[in-house]
């Protein structure tokens, strides 16, 4: 029998259920914290992003933070698929790109005006527009496409991959190859997608002038609000029965089969949700950055998305999102001040985190609290650390 339980060190605080038999436990502080602590955390993030940041940051910094939020939305999805589902999704750039390009196509068509063709098609082509661009003139269709296209593609891909029981490193390589292929395809189709330059020089987004500071601020607010929404969705998923099932599938996929579930279906749901979140992130990224190009969606970009999640803590609700924001911040802001040293510092940071905190920075608190002496003997017996095997990458 080859069933093995592969417990990872990733911190998966699967939410508690009220203790059996007693109703008093439902209102104990520990239970309330475990159940609703996540909501308090999300509220704090919401206050920082929606109240503090718009009132304190310059327009430029706010725009940057908006981009990090877009990455963080994709990261929340990666946290679900990788941290909880054990699928090392190394090609999320593909879905980020699908959303980003869908939005950018709409904005290009807005900039071109009714019945007109985007500028680059005149520049590089014969001023004819492929028919599949046409529906993106409609804002409603674009929004629909941002959700529907990645959902459909990830469902088909995920079904094909997961039903064949492709997992671990093979799954990671396959998704990574998709990102490479996607970027190559974009570069090769300059007449249809803008090629290496990508799509840029937008003027309006849904009729709003993008050079208007208020519109810029609103774009940021939408991105930040969407991040909060994704965090709330994740919070509910993690505490739901599905969340428990996903963790159980990650840890012992074969065992799940003998409980009457098809693990492929359980993982497929997480994979599709992660793809839709990545697409949403991409769709918000394009107007905030003013550009979407193959370098935003290729293998390197996909790994950068992953890096933030790994750094923050892939199985933790906030680790993934805050990690992605931190990596984005480090890349742009800190690298302004330390242009040469930053890359080395970032590399060193990753090595240190992977070596000593494979569960990401979010697992630091758990490690510290485990090392501290317990307050009462009762607590000590409850907080038994489950013996964990060595870190599995996927």
């Amino acid at each position: 029998m080859t069933t093995t339980i592969d417990t990872t060190e990733a911190s998966d605080t699967v939410e508690a259920t009220p203790p059996v038999g007693t109703t008093a436990g439902r209102f104990s502080p520990a239970y309330l914290f475990k159940t609703y602590g996540g909501l308090v955390g999300i509220a704090l993030v919401a206050i920082v992003l929606l109240v503090w940041a718009p009132n304190s940051l310059t327009a430029f910094r706010l725009g940057n933070l908006g981009k990090y939020c877009a990455w963080a939305i994709a990261a929340v999805g990666i946290g679900l698929a990788w941290g909880r589902g054990g699928m090392l999704v190394m090609g999320q750039g593909v879905f980020f790109g699908l959303g980003g390009y869908a939005m950018a196509m709409h904005m290009k068509l807005e900039a071109a005006g009714p019945g007109k063709v985007p500028d680059f098609m005149v520049l590089y082509g014969d001023a004819t527009m492929p028919s599949w661009w046409e529906p993106f003139r409609s804002g409603a269709f674009t929004i629909f496409a941002i959700f529907a296209i990645p959902a459909l593609i990830s469902f088909i891909l995920g079904y094909a991959i997961l039903k064949r029981r492709v997992k671990g490193a093979y799954f990671a390589i396959l998704t990574q190859a998709l990102a490479v292929a996607f970027a190559t395809l974009l570069v090769a189709t300059i007449k249809q997608t803008g090629g290496f330059n990508g799509l840029n020089t937008f003027t309006t987004v849904f009729g709003q002038n993008m050079y208007d500071p208020d519109v810029k601020k609103n774009l940021y607010m939408v991105a930040a609000a969407m991040l909060i929404v994704c965090l709330l969705i994740s919070w509910q998923l993690y505490r739901s029965r599905y969340g428990e099932l996903l963790v159980a599938t990650r840890d012992a996929e074969e065992r799940i089969r003998f409980l009457g579930y098809d693990p492929a279906n359980i993982k497929l749901v997480a994979f599709v949700i992660a793809a839709v979140m990545a697409s949403l992130g991409g769709a918000l990224f394009a107007p905030l950055a003013g550009i979407i190009s193959p370098s935003n969606v290729d293998a390197t970009a996909s790994i950068m998305l992953l890096a933030g999640v790994a750094l923050g803590g892939r199985a933790s609700l906030f680790g993934a999102a805050l990690g992605a924001i931190a990596v984005g911040y480090g890349q742009s802001t800190l690298s302004e001040q330390f242009p040469t040293q930053w890359t080395y510092f970032q590399g060193a940071l990753f090595i240190v985190v992977m070596l000593f905190l494979p569960g990401g920075i979010a697992s630091l608190w758990r490690k510290v609290s485990a090392a501290l002496p317990k307050r009462s003997p009762k607590e000590a017996t409850v907080d038994v650390t489950v013996p964990t095997q060595t870190e599995a990458v996927a």
Binding site: R241, V247, L259
Partner: protein, 255 residues
Amino acid sequence: MTASFLGEDYLEVRGLTVDFDGFKAISGVDVTFLQGRLHFLIGPNGAGKTTLVDALTGLVHGTGTAGFRGQDLLSMKSHKIVRLGVGRTFQTATVFEQLTVLQNLDIAAGLHRKAAGLLLSRRKVPESVEQALETIGLTALANRPAGILAHGQKQWLEVGMLLVQDAKVMFLDETVAGMSSEEREETGELLKRIVGDRTIVVIEHDMEFMRRYADFVTVMHGGKVLAEGTVAEVQADTKVQEVYLGTVTEVAADA
């Protein structure tokens, strides 16, 4: 064989053969698992006991037929077989160590739930889970991670998971191996309590345990059924005594 045992939900295996690249781990096995009894499957190492269960639960491919509730288990996928009401445990207990005892049971109870309900969190402990906790005697440990359980407790948890699945046929693969004698006794009593209208098939090496609790015994050897019958019948069988050399003859002698 006593006809009074014959119930509706019997599992009928005919001509089951499992071929591993030319090596026949099981060849032409006919066996019927009837409702309402503890059916022991014994035999020396390599006799094909676990392979038989693997084939019946979709883990390895077998030819022949295995009829249960009008369906052939051999043509079904593992999770569909479980949904039909045939569950199993493994030689090494494979509970979800990071989840609590309660969560383990809740996941096992989930196969009858609607998919949409999965998106909600658990509001209260389901009745079936509470009953199972009571039956397997782990109520006090319900909120502990399953990883801290003792070996015997993990096996009971596995039995509990089969209970909440409402498995009508349970295959227990060497459940009492590595248990202390008290734990074995408790396990035996547990199985007697839960058998009811179920079919419980126990793969076992421990002859003492078999003798105490078996309602019916099938002896396998070299991938074939060697003998079948009650404990006394099997122990009196000369072929069985030959296979087990000293082991069974000794047991038979003091039986």
